[in-house]
C-alpha cells in the first residue's frame, strides 16, 4: 500500500479524486530494483504497470533504440492495460530505483467498473503511448490501431 499523499504527487494521478486515489493506494506496492536490473522484459506477459518513484530507467525497444526516464511519476508497463497485454519494450534500471507497482488485472478491473476513472487513467496512458509510438514495432502499432 502506498499513501494517497504520495500518489497525489504524480502527474498521472493528478485528476483523480480522493476515492479513486484510495482505491489505487490499496492496490499499489513499492518495489525496489537494483542498478542494471531488468524490471520488464519485452515480449513477456504484461502484468504490472509501474510508476517511477525515484531513480532512473532505460526503456529499450526491440530495435535497440531507447529512451531514459529520470523524473518521478514517469510510467512504464502501460501494456498491462492494453491488449494483447504483452510488454513491447524492456525496462532496465540505470541506477537503484524505487517504483510503485500496480497489478494490471486489478487496475483493468477498476477501469472497467468505473467509467470516469477509466477515462482519466486511459487518457494519461494514451499520452504516454503517443510519446512512445514512434519506437514501437509495426505489428504492435497495427494491434493498437485495431484496438482503437
Amino acid at each position: 500500500m502506498i499513501p494517497v499523499d504520495e500518489l497525489k504527487r504524480y502527474e498521472i494521478f493528478a485528476e483523480m479524486d480522493l476515492t479513486e486515489l484510495r482505491l489505487l493506494s490499496a492496490m499499489a506496492e513499492e518495489r525496489r530494483a537494483r542498478e542494471g536490473e531488468e524490471v520488464i522484459r519485452a515480449g513477456s506477459p504484461a502484468r504490472t504497470l509501474y510508476v517511477l518513484q525515484e531513480g532512473g530507467l532505460m526503456v529499450v525497444f526491440p530495435d535497440g533504440r531507447a529512451i531514459t526516464l529520470h523524473k518521478p511519476g514517469r510510467v512504464v508497463g502501460w501494456s498491462a492495460l492494453v491488449s494483447p497485454t504483452h510488454y513491447t519494450a524492456s525496462v532496465t534500471c540505470l541506477t537503484d530505483s524505487t517504483l510503485i507497482a500496480f497489478p494490471g488485472s486489478e487496475l483493468l478491473r477498476l477501469v472497467q467498473r468505473n467509467v470516469v476513472f477509466g477515462t482519466k487513467i486511459m487518457r494519461k496512458i494514451s499520452e504516454v503511448l503517443s510519446r512512445r509510438l514512434p519506437f514501437l514495432q509495426e505489428k504492435d502499432k497495427r494491434l493498437l490501431k485495431q484496438r482503437s
Partner: protein, 161 residues
C-alpha cells in the same frame, strides 16, 4: 685421473653449484625488477610533467604498499570526479568506434564486455548532467562542447542536475 674423481679433484662440484646459484639469483633479480615495470610506467604516465614530485614519489613507486591507481576496472565503486572522468573517456573511445548517434543499450553491452564496472550508473550520471543526450529518434549523442570542458569544471559542486 678422470670421471667423478677428476671433477672432485678440480672442485667441479663447487664450481657447478656456484654457477647454478649465480644464474638463479640473476634471474630472480631480473624478475623482481620487471615486476616493478607496471608501477614505474603508471607513475611515469601520471607524473612525467611534474618533475618537482619526482623524489617523494620514488618512495611511493618502490615502497612496500601497492600504489592505489584510480581505475574504472576496480572494485565496483565510483568516486567523483576522477573515476567518472575515466569512465567517460572510456565510453567516448567506445562510441568513437561505434559512431554517433549510438544506441545506448549497445554501448552498455560493449562497455560491460570491455570490463567497465557500474556502466548503468555511470551512464545515468552522464545523462542527468546532460553530457550524453537522447534524441527523439531513440538514439544518443555526446552533448556538443562537453568534450572540451575540464573534468573539474564540470563535476565540482554539480550535484543538483
Amino acid at each position: 685421473m678422470g670421471g667423478f674423481s677428476g671433477i672432485s679433484a678440480g672442485n667441479g662440484w663447487i664450481i657447478s653449484a656456484l654457477g647454478i646459484s649465480v644464474v638463479f639469483f640473476g634471474l630472480a633479480s631480473l624478475a623482481f625488477i620487471i615486476s616493478y615495470f607496471p608501477r614505474a610506467i603508471n607513475w611515469w604516465n601520471d607524473h612525467a610533467q611534474t618533475p618537482r614530485h619526482v623524489f617523494p614519489l620514488l618512495g611511493g613507486v618502490f615502497g612496500k604498499g601497492r600504489r592505489k591507481v584510480p581505475s574504472i576496472l576496480g572494485e565496483g565503486t565510483i568516486h567523483e570526479p576522477g573515476d567518472i572522468k575515466d569512465a567517460e573517456e572510456a565510453l567516448r573511445l567506445l562510441t568513437a568506434h561505434m559512431g554517433e548517434p549510438f544506441k545506448l543499450p549497445r554501448l552498455i553491452e560493449v562497455a560491460e564486455q570491455r570490463g567497465l564496472v557500474r556502466v548503468h550508473s555511470v551512464i545515468n550520471r552522464l545523462l542527468v548532467r546532460g553530457i550524453i543526450v537522447g534524441g527523439a529518434d531513440g538514439l544518443f549523442r555526446w552533448a556538443k562542447g562537453s568534450e572540451n570542458e575540464g573534468p573539474l569544471d564540470r563535476y565540482n559542486g554539480d550535484t543538483t542536475r
